[in-house]
């Protein structure tokens, strides 16, 4: 598992969820695509769904159960949910910290 694989997983999950949560701009996401916070991105309920979907996808692909919204993530100076790339960074770090 490398960072590129994790980013691909996050992007494909965001793409799959785009229809469900109703955000056209998420249909072709890149690492820079804004997810949450500031003027762009999704509302808080859609973020909840996205985070749950990414946790699930990580479990299916890598066989590891991660919780993304942990204390460390919620107290970061720069929100790990601000872009798809930041979310992938967070997921990569949590996958490394969890035993299968």
């Amino acid at each position: 598992m490398d960072k590129e694989q994790v980013l691909r997983l996050v992007l494909s999950t965001v793409r799959e969820e785009a229809d469900e949560i109703g955000y056209d701009e998420l249909r072709a996401p890149t690492a820079e695509t804004p997810l949450f916070g500031g003027d762009a991105g999704v509302d808080s309920l859609s973020l909840v769904r996205l985070v749950a979907a990414v946790e699930r996808a990580a479990q299916v692909q890598f066989g590891k159960n991660v919780v993304l919204a942990d204390e460390k993530a919620m107290s970061m100076r720069n929100s790990p949910f601000r872009t798809a790339g930041a979310l992938a960074e967070l997921l990569f770090a949590r996958l490394g910290a969890v035993d299968a």
Binding site: A52, R56, N65
Partner: protein
Amino acid sequence: MPEVVLITGTRKGIGRHLVDHFLQKDYVVAGCSRDEFDGALPPGYRHYRADVADERAVVDMVRDVQNSCGSITVLINNAGIASMNHLLLTPLSTIERIFSTNVFGTFLVMREAAKIMATARYGRIVNFASVATPLDLEGEAGYAASKAAVESLTRVAARELAPFNITVNAVGPSPVMTDLIQGVPKRTMDALINRQAIKRMAEQGDITNAIDFLVSRASDFVTGQTIYLGGV
């Protein structure tokens, strides 16, 4: 497709009864307790040995239920502990233990199950409150306070999860003959039952009846409520 119910605290008492109840209703039933299940596992029931206050154990269990049984549609947060003692004779560790299981455990299992329900855009969550809260029972300060926290958690979760078509309610049983109240003196129990409108002990069927109502698909406009039994 059969619905999947996750019930916590299934080793004995109300939780054990709920396992049989939901199996009879053709649910796929999973459950957990801190210790091994008492006796043989009923056919069709999947048991986990997990402490609901242990975040890692809860995360692993809930996701394994999803993988093994399918998306959880109903969660019954039954696991709970009690301790009867005067406030002045209650060690802090007792209160911490009660809150860990009753409040933090309810929160953790609800959070993880609701992630699955939110994705499926459907869910029914029933938490366990207690008449100890509205009756302000002497000798049960920690227990009553923990169940007050569960009620508050239930109301706020109902609002936060409503957009996902998930309802969150609570059942507050009056005393029912389980291990939880075995140590309570008869005189205390009689005095408690006398404060109910209907003066008898609750039976398992009284509890499952309220739960059946709350988890019914037709109850999609009922959320954030606590149903007390016995007329409290």
